[in-house]
């Protein structure tokens, strides 16, 4: 009996209280069977959406915007509230976010991260995107569709986002996870808008591109193995970044929404912002 209690206690500590009304990643089959119970939001370009989309899906644009000299930022609260309300989403809606295909996985998680950050708890992404839906022979609709507007109020969850000040304060304490491509991390290449080659000293490398294979999300156990191999701990605070705040949401999504880690923040300013900080000196040609 004591052993059972101990196991439960350990489980409670390592797998934090985590109740979702919808899986973090859903399949086309699941979505087809549950279409009437969810709000499907389509992030693709408008002409692609109009040409064909999942029946009932609404187009949702503008969940990430350029501002303050950063490429991908969260819109202002009132603007974001309006976008979410107009998509027919309430705080208690079950939402499935759809992108083009697996190559856009980080973009779909960026949108999904924005929704949960704004206070929508039950958000999923469609595995394989619209391509998986059509490949599975599911029905499609054309033109525009709208849902009744809700009265959504944004309640940002500060536990999901890291500010520059938090990153600077956490450089030595937090696990920094760099989700960019390997050669970017190593210092062979960089985006023009990032000021330094290489990576933040001590940052772990775990490219977001590895989450998917052939356009589909790898099995959860395989993703867990990758994380375990780096000896990352769910107990220690973690800050995930990339170049401009998109790729990092892919691993943020898997770690927090699929695996249940609770101490993980996504840094949407990412290397674009922190590489301009004179006190932060990137290192290159080293692994970690």
């Amino acid at each position: 009996m004591k052993k059972a209690v101990l196991i439960l206690l350990v489980l409670a500590l390592t797998v934090p209280a985590f109740a979702r009304g919808i899986d973090a990643v859903v399949s086309a089959d699941w979505l087809a069977a549950n279409l009437s119970k969810v709000v499907v939001v389509d992030m693709r370009k408008l002409d692609e959406y109009r040409a064909g989309h999942i029946p009932g899906a609404v187009s949702l644009q503008g969940l990430y915007v350029a501002k303050d000299n950063l490429s991908n930022e969260v819109p202002a609260a009132d603007e974001l509230a309006e976008l979410i309300a107009e998509a027919g989403i309430s705080a208690d809606s079950k939402v499935v976010v759809v992108e083009t295909d697996g190559s856009r996985f980080a973009w779909v998680t960026r949108a999904a991260w924005t929704l949960v950050y704004a206070g929508v708890a039950d958000v999923a992404v469609l595995d394989g995107g619209y391509a998986a839906w059509t490949k599975a022979g599911k029905p499609t609709a054309t033109g525009m569709e709208f849902r009744d507007e809700t009265k959504f109020e944004v309640k940002f969850n500060p536990a999901y986002i890291a500010t520059k000040a938090e990153v600077l304060a956490g450089l030595k304490k937090a696990q920094i996870l760099d989700t960019r491509a390997y050669d970017t991390y190593f210092g062979l290449s960089k985006q023009a808008f990032v000021d330094q080659f290489g990576h933040i000293p001590g940052a772990y490398s775990l490219p977001s591109a590895w989450i998917t294979k052939d356009g589909m999300v790898r099995p959860k156990a395989e993703l867990e193995e990758m994380v375990a191999a780096l000896k990352l701990s769910p107990k220690k605070p973690m800050i995930i970044h990339c170049d401009s705040g998109v790729l990092c949401t892919a691993w943020w999504w898997i770690l927090t929404q699929q695996m249940g880690w609770t101490n993980v923040k996504s840094y949407d300013g990412s290397a674009q912002e922190i590489s301009k900080e004179p006190t932060v000196k990137f290192v290159k040609y080293v692994w970690k």
Partner: protein
């Protein structure tokens, strides 16, 4: 790889139920390519009335007078800088060879993507005729700034109209593209053109406080001056001088066509030696400014200007200033500084 035409396509597109030769000419009975292509017309709708006009006479006739076909806006945009002699030189040496080479045929919007700087994407969907397909047509000629600003592909906020499911033809309907049968010198003179207040009459806009704000600014400040969401591409970002880098900005100044109005301005890249190779010195270069009123296509309900009056009234954040003017630019620009 699909065929240009197929039995299926022929069955569903009435245009293709005519012989190919009905538009493209040539000789369908010939046995070898050379003979078959004798007299072939590559782009039949370069002559709208002769090609499309056989079935759509009114549209084709009107279209030959529309700005997309005549490219008159390009001519009249610069002709004010020329002497009478220079205008003749411009017409002979520049306009037909350069400006008008951009004119859109019917097929450039309804069959294939238009040619931009000698490059095009070819047929949009085999030889199927499309009523409209803006991302493959409008987006190419207007892709340097307007379309990517509209969709947010430049990284800015997508235009509120795009977010609501609207694309180009929802504000610029076919009747406006095809023209009304009158030849206009430029788009500002066209009789029926898009206007914000057609759909958003001021008296019905927003809360009481918003109504008051709109009343106060009506006639003095354009809609876009406050409702442009984010920085937009200036032509000079790419075209002014060597090594120019893209540097989007919001620029507010007096409307050169109505100095009583504050509006969004865009810097047009005509410099003093633009037409030097054609022997045009632009005798009246300073008669026209380099900044022109523009409506950036990234409209938003809320911006830093609608949120905080101080953005303009205290900080004057986006106002055109003398120090911003490019060296050697038109003296007329000074008139536009608020």
């Amino acid at each position: 790889m699909g065929f240009v035409v197929s039995k299926d396509l022929i069955a569903r597109d009435p245009h293709l139920q005519n012989e190919c030769t009905s538009c493209h000419k040539g000789n369908a009975a010939a046995k070898d390519q050379k003979a078959a292509h004798a007299g072939l017309i590559d782009r039949p709708s370069d002559d709208p009335e002769a090609a499309c006009g056989t079935c759509h006479p009114e549209i084709a006739k009107n279209y030959t007078l529309s700005l997309h076909y005549t490219a008159a806006g390009m001519k009249h945009g610069v002709s004010g800088r020329f002497s009478e002699a220079e205008k003749k030189t411009f017409d002979a040496k520049v306009f037909e060879q350069s400006c008008r080479s951009c004119h859109a045929s019917c097929g450039d919007c309804h069959v294939k993507s238009p040619v931009v700087s000698g490059v095009n994407l070819g047929l949009m969907n085999g030889h199927q005729f499309a009523r409209k397909d803006e991302s493959k047509t409008c987006a190419l000629c207007h892709g340097g700034r307007v379309y990517p600003e509209f969709t947010g592909e430049y990284g800015g906020t997508p235009d509120v109209h795009y977010r609501k499911g609207m694309t180009c033809a929802d504000c610029h309907p076919a009747e406006q593209f095809h023209g009304d049968g009158k030849a206009y010198p430029d788009r500002t003179k066209v009789a029926v053109k898009p206007s914000c207040v057609t759909c958003h009459p001021l008296e019905y806009l927003g809360k009481d406080s918003t109504k008051q704000t709109h009343e106060t600014h009506d006639g003095r400040v354009s809609c876009s001056a406050c409702h442009t969401a984010s920085s937009y591409r200036q032509c000079s970002s790419c075209h002014l001088g060597e090594g120019a880098r893209s540097s989007p900005a919001i620029v507010l100044g007096k409307n050169p066509r109505n100095l009583k109005e504050l509006t969004t301005l865009r810097l047009i890249p005509t410099v003093r030696d633009t037409f030097q190779k054609a022997g045009i010195a632009q005798a009246n270069f300073d008669a026209l400014p380099n900044y022109w009123n523009t409506v950036p296509h990234n409209i938003a309900k809320r911006t830093d200007r609608t949120r905080d009056c101080n953005t303009c009234h205290q900080e004057g954040l986006y106002y055109l200033e003398a120090k911003m003017l490019p060296p050697g630019s038109s003296k007329k620009n000074l008139d536009l500084i608020p």
